[in-house]
Each structure stands twice: as structure tokens, then as C-alpha cells.
Amino acid sequence: MSSIIKVTQVKKNFGKQTVLKNVSLTVEPGTIYGLLGANGAGKSTLLKIITGLLKADAGQVNFGEMIMPKAQIEIQRRFSFSGQQSSVDDVLTGFENLTLIAKLRHLAHPQKIAQDLLTRFDLTDAANKAAGSYSGGMVRRLDLAMSLVGDPEIIFLNEPTTGLDPASRNDLWKMIRELKAKGKTIFLTTQYLEEADQLTDQIGFLRDGEIVATGTPTEMKRLAGSAKLQLTFADEATATQAAATLATYRVTAIDPEALAVDLPDGNMSSLTILKQLDDAGMTVVNFGLVAPTLDDVFMKLTKGVD
């Protein structure tokens, strides 16, 4: 499979400040790529360079055979880009926002396109109300609908669910998954690890202007380390005693009465540990398995800890 977007050694400075040191990434067609990073990591700048809004100081952006920005207009016909969270016109109605984009894309029957999208995104009732009066969830739906005008094959979304309540966020995730099911390629930026985990096929971690890690969500979690067994004891003395018994494992104290034990050989090794404690006559009050989250990777990578 050949990649649909290929970024090669892109560099960008604003004055003396280096925003992107050296970024390379590839996106496969029909997948969701998640660019993950903290505020100020350079996500928006990279997105602007890929979509042709900014010029890179060095490096190259390819869309298949075409090179950005040389073939800018041709490439821009194939994608849509929604900027800072949601770029809708507050004064115009939902219907007018959609016809505006349809007209700028020079499509036939802008009104019909707008109506269809309003129906699809459940905005028919609010079609003739100013977008400024919409709720946060409605604005994002309208924003996504605007991105789909003209049925582009690649959809860029900048932090699509930032600031949304959980219900609206789930709605939007569902819509993004539906787009993928229709064969669209989606490139999104996010600060939410859960979002990247839920949605993406491939994740790139951007830190200090560099992609410091890349892989599938599963590979990323493996990077975060093994699963942990959490053990709670009746008191501190028992916990200390248990820690000594499990000296061959990597044990960390969470609370005075609670320990976390790394499971290097997978979840099943927790049986051995529990048996070992039982044999030593120590009572475990409670236990649980904790899978590594993307937060663990995120914390490791953003803090630069190994």
C-alpha cells in the first residue's frame, strides 16, 4: 500500500523559535492518523504546513504523486481542513454556512448539498438559526458537515472534540468512525489519549517539534510498559512485608497499604504472585489488573523520562 500523505524532514522556525525540528510521517489511505501532543508541541503548525497554509523552511509534503505547495489547488480539491476546533460563521445560519462552502468549491446544487448534510448531521431543526446560537455539540457537527461538502477523500480535523461534553464527544467519534468506514482518510490532532486510542490506526507523538514515537495504539501501550497488578493490604506493615516477599519483581508503593507489581510475563503471572503471598500467609484485601494507558506513554514522552 502506498501512502496518501508523506511528510519528509519538515522544519519550521518562527523567527528564532524552532517550532518543528525535523518531522517525517506517513499516512496510509483509508486510515485514521492521530497526531498527539501537548499544547505548543507544534501540532497546529505541522497541520498548517501539510494543508498548505504555511510554508515549511525545509522538507517536503507529498500527496501521492503531487507535491505541496506546487500542486496546492489540485491537492486542496481532495481534502478539507477545519482549523481551530471549529471554524463556522457565527452570524450565518447552518444552511448558509454549508452553501457558502459548496459555492466556494464550485459544486452544482449547493442548496441540495446543504440540505442533505443538515439531515445527515441531525441539524434540520436548526438549519435557519444563526450558528452562534448553537450548542457546542451542534457547532462541531456543523463544522464536520462543512468539512464533508464536496465529499473530499482526506479530512483534516484539528482537535475535533476539545471542550465537548462526553455525550457529544461520543457522537462525534461515531461520525468519524463512519467516515473511515466509507473509505475516507482522516488526519486529526488531539491532546486526548483516549481519543487517539479509540479512533486512530496510527499515532505520532509530537514533542518539542519532533515525532518522538510512532505506532498503533497497541504498540504505544506496549511502549508504556507491562500491565500492573495492584494489591491492597489491611495495613502498612503487611504491605511492607509483602514488598519484601516480592523482591524479585518490580514493586512500587502507591499508598501505604497498596502496592503495584509489574507483570513482565503478562497477566497470568499475577496468579503466581497471589499464590506466593498466600503461601507466605499474607492476606490480600483487594487486587486488580491495570493495563498501561496512553497516558503512561504520554507522561513518559512529554516529560522525557525513559
Binding site: R77, Q84, D90, L104, A130
Partner: protein
């Protein structure tokens, strides 16, 4: 590009809708010059003694400055709309679309100039009610119109880089105060002869005085003098410089 004009009009049409839906904007833009007009005629005008200008003619004397004041106030809203489009991400969306890139700013300018001309016509109609009369013939009216629309285009382009560079809503429109200040330190409301020497030298040579004099002469029924041509040069010059800065900033955001 064949779609260039239609893109510009689509984008201008969007902002015309903005203007029509916030009538309070037009009222704000018109209210200030009208209030100034009334104040100068009925409050200050009584004690204004200008050489060669009778009391009844004072409204004719200040009218050019009143018209330019309308345009200067209105251009603050252009800076504001540019700032809003920048900060809301609309510019990003438009820039990422397969359209002629200059259509976005040009759409702003077209809608702004239409809005400014509309406001100016309202102020002009009100000034007729307060006793303004022109001696201009059709040709002189036409030249006046050219200067006024030229001024509108100039302040609009001037407002664009301020809107693009602004960090907040307030700073976006702050430049229009500078324009208003220039209007007051000119021959707009009183003769420059009465001003202290350093102020007078500045007032005599700054572009506002030249443009006000040019409009005043035309409306008084005189044919274009050097002031008219100098005004045209000022307008073209300031517009070109602003245009250049606008393009530069627009590509950087």
C-alpha cells in the same frame, strides 16, 4: 482564474449578510459623525469665526471632514471583522480551500467599501437636512464621488493589516482613533491659520488636509486643483503600501 470573481463575490456576500444582520453597526458608524455634525453646527458653530466663511456656510466647510469621519469610524469594523475571521479559524478554512487565495481579503474589502458607501450616503442625506448645500455640477459631484470611494478603499486596506496583526478585539480597531485624530488636526473643522506653528505645519502638510480641501473645492463648484491630484497620489500610495502589508501578514497567519 475564471472562478476568481465569483469566489470574491461569494465571500463578499457573506460579509454583506453580516453587515445587514447587525444594523447596530451601521447606527454606530453613522451616529458619531452625525453627532459631530450637529455639535459643530449648533453648539460650536455659533462662535466659530473662519476667514471667508459665513455662519450659514460652516456646515459646507465641515462636511468633507464629516464624510471622512464616517469612513474612518466604519473602517474600524473592517479591522474587527478581519480579526474575527483570523481568530475564529475562518481564514484557515478558506485558505485550505481550492480557491484563489487573494479572493478572501478582496471579499472583505468589497463588502467593507459597500458598507462604508452606504453609511456615507446616510450621513450625506442627514447633512442636507441640516442645511448643507453644494454648488458642484455633475462632473464635480462625480470627482467628489471618486475621492470619497478612493478614501473608502484606502481606509479599508489600511484597516486590514491592523486586523490581521491584532492580538485582541480592542487593539484591532484602535487604529481608527489615529485616523480621527488626523481629521481633527487638519483643516477639517477650523482654519489651520489659528494653530500654533508646529501643529500648523503638520496640519497643512498631512494628507487629510489635502483630501478635505480637494473635496471642499469640488463641492463649492470649483474645478480640480493640485489638491485633487495630490489626494489621488496619497490615496493610491497609502492603498498600495497597506495592500502590500496585508498580503504579507495574511500569508504569515
Amino acid at each position: 482564474m475564471k472562478n476568481y470573481l465569483s469566489d470574491t463575490m461569494t465571500l463578499a456576500n457573506r460579509l454583506i449578510k453580516h453587515n445587514l444582520r447587525s444594523m447596530d453597526t451601521i447606527i454606530t458608524v453613522v451616529a458619531m459623525p452625525v453627532a459631530m455634525l450637529l455639535m459643530f453646527i449648533y453648539i460650536l458653530g455659533g462662535s466659530m469665526q473662519l476667514p471667508g466663511v459665513s455662519h450659514g456656510e460652516y456646515v459646507n466647510y465641515i462636511l468633507p471632514a464629516i464624510l471622512f469621519m464616517t469612513l474612518a469610524t466604519g473602517s474600524a469594523y473592517t479591522a474587527l471583522r478581519v480579526f474575527m475571521d483570523k481568530s475564529s479559524g475562518m481564514f484557515d478554512r478558506f485558505k485550505s480551500m481550492p480557491i484563489a487565495k487573494s479572493a478572501v481579503l478582496n471579499g472583505q474589502v468589497v463588502s467593507s467599501v459597500l458598507f462604508l458607501m452606504f453609511s456615507t450616503v446616510i450621513v450625506l442625506l442627514i447633512s442636507f437636512l441640516t442645511g448643507f448645500r453644494a454648488q458642484a455640477n455633475l462632473g464635480q459631484w462625480l470627482l467628489t464621488f471618486i475621492l470619497v470611494i478612493g478614501f473608502a478603499i484606502m481606509v479599508t486596506w489600511l484597516s486590514v493589516p491592523f486586523g490581521l496583526a491584532a492580538k485582541s478585539i480592542d487593539s484591532a480597531s484602535a487604529f481608527s482613533y489615529l485616523l480621527l485624530l488626523l481629521l481633527f488636526v487638519s483643516s477639517g473643522f477650523s482654519s489651520v491659520e489659528g494653530m500654533p506653528t508646529p501643529v500648523r505645519v503638520f496640519a497643512e502638510h498631512q494628507p487629510m488636509t489635502t483630501m478635505i480641501t480637494a473635496v471642499r473645492q469640488l463641492l463649492a463648484g470649483q474645478n480640480p486643483t493640485a489638491d485633487f491630484w495630490q489626494s489621488i497620489v496619497w490615496i493610491i500610495g497609502i492603498t498600495l503600501v497597506s495592500f502590500f502589508f496585508s498580503k504579507r501578514l495574511y500569508h504569515q497567519i
